[in-house]
Subunit: 208 residues, 2 copies
């Protein structure tokens, strides 16, 4: 086994991923995101699954550069996003899933905490990129709030994972008028959500 | 789309997973872990990848019941593990990756923080299950510490993800004298590590 430091392992890993992707033609900015997702999952299915709206990487990076925050639906994604890097531009990461007012509102309305946490995020007086890695109900409620004109996301990272309502919720976002990065199908997760956020952030370092 | 609450979605999801697994013969306790990993990743490759040492689920659950702690190599896994459930038996989750003494030791020795964090965990005066979801160097150092007789894990969840040294590090654990759950090959991740820990915990609720 080779004795390598983390930064060397990461470099070597991306070389292997690039090699195994072979001749697949990818927009450079999309490739940067795609490779980080594959690095995080070792799952090349994302080559087929990941869908990008036009110029989404540039648009989301521009929003971050202007101080946009990231709202996510899991503590795991929050833990995984590079908050130090985001804070350089003035942004923060929020996850309202554990908040008592969110739990109370979900109970009162017979909805989910994920949906209630999107409602809480919708009234933040901040520009927001939403990173949904777990709950299809978060995506569904977010879509409703957009249709009602209550929220105008700077972008949606729509990568919940699962078997019930997940595929459908993602298809709704794919049809919406919003910059999106969506993992079509069942796959995704908090790790994928965090990886995409970090890819946006790390991509900015080279282009500031 | 169906209007379902999270617990209904989870129930329905496990029904779908069970159905799609079809007639695959699985030990009941292993199946409980396997299904939760598939639920977390939507990736049926884990049917082939996940390796269990003999009676490992029972052994790890017994350790937890006796107050064992969980040490993990990522903040994401720590965020994902059900700490409330673990605390019922007296256990805690530790992740030393962000600790200053760990960073200093890694720098001094030219090793990784992941390796140094395993050294810190090795001298905890507690019974420990290790849950490695990210760094192969954590698994490699842990293996060395076991061989040196410095640490005697109650179990190892060895599911780092990646392209460099990951496969090899996992094979070392598969040959070691320790109760293990290992995701053979490249796949794994903090989400998988957390899912396995939670499967152990949720499996205990029905069997206390």
């Amino acid at each position: 086994m080779q004795k390598l430091l983390p930064e060397e392992i990461e470099k070597r890993s991306f070389e292997i991923i690039t090699k195994e992707l072979g001749g697949i033609l990818l927009d450079e900015e999309q490739a940067f995101v795609m490779k980080r997702v594959i690095h995080t999952t070792a799952d090349f299915d994302y080559v087929e699954n990941l869908c990008f709206s036009e110029d989404v990487v540039k648009k989301m990076q521009e929003a971050i550069r202007n101080g946009a925050c990231i709202v996510t639906d899991t503590q795991m994604a929050k833990a995984g996003i590079n908050k130090k890097e985001l804070s350089k531009y003035g942004g923060e990461v929020f996850c309202f899933m554990g908040d008592e007012d969110v739990a109370a509102k979900a109970k009162e309305k017979g909805s989910t905490r994920a949906a209630a946490s999107m409602e809480k995020a919708a009234v933040l007086e901040k520009e927001v990129i939403f990173a949904v890695g777990n709950a299809p109900t978060a995506l569904m409620r977010l879509h409703e709030l957009m249709q009602e004109g209550v929220v105008f996301p700077k972008g949606i990272i729509g990568v919940p994972v699962g078997f019930v309502n997940v595929v459908e919720a993602k298809e709704m976002i794919l049809k919406a008028e919003v910059p999106y990065i969506v993992a079509r199908g069942r796959k995704g997760g908090s790790n994928v959500a965090a990886a995409i956020c970090n890819a946006l952030l790390y991509g900015m370092k080279h282009r500031v």
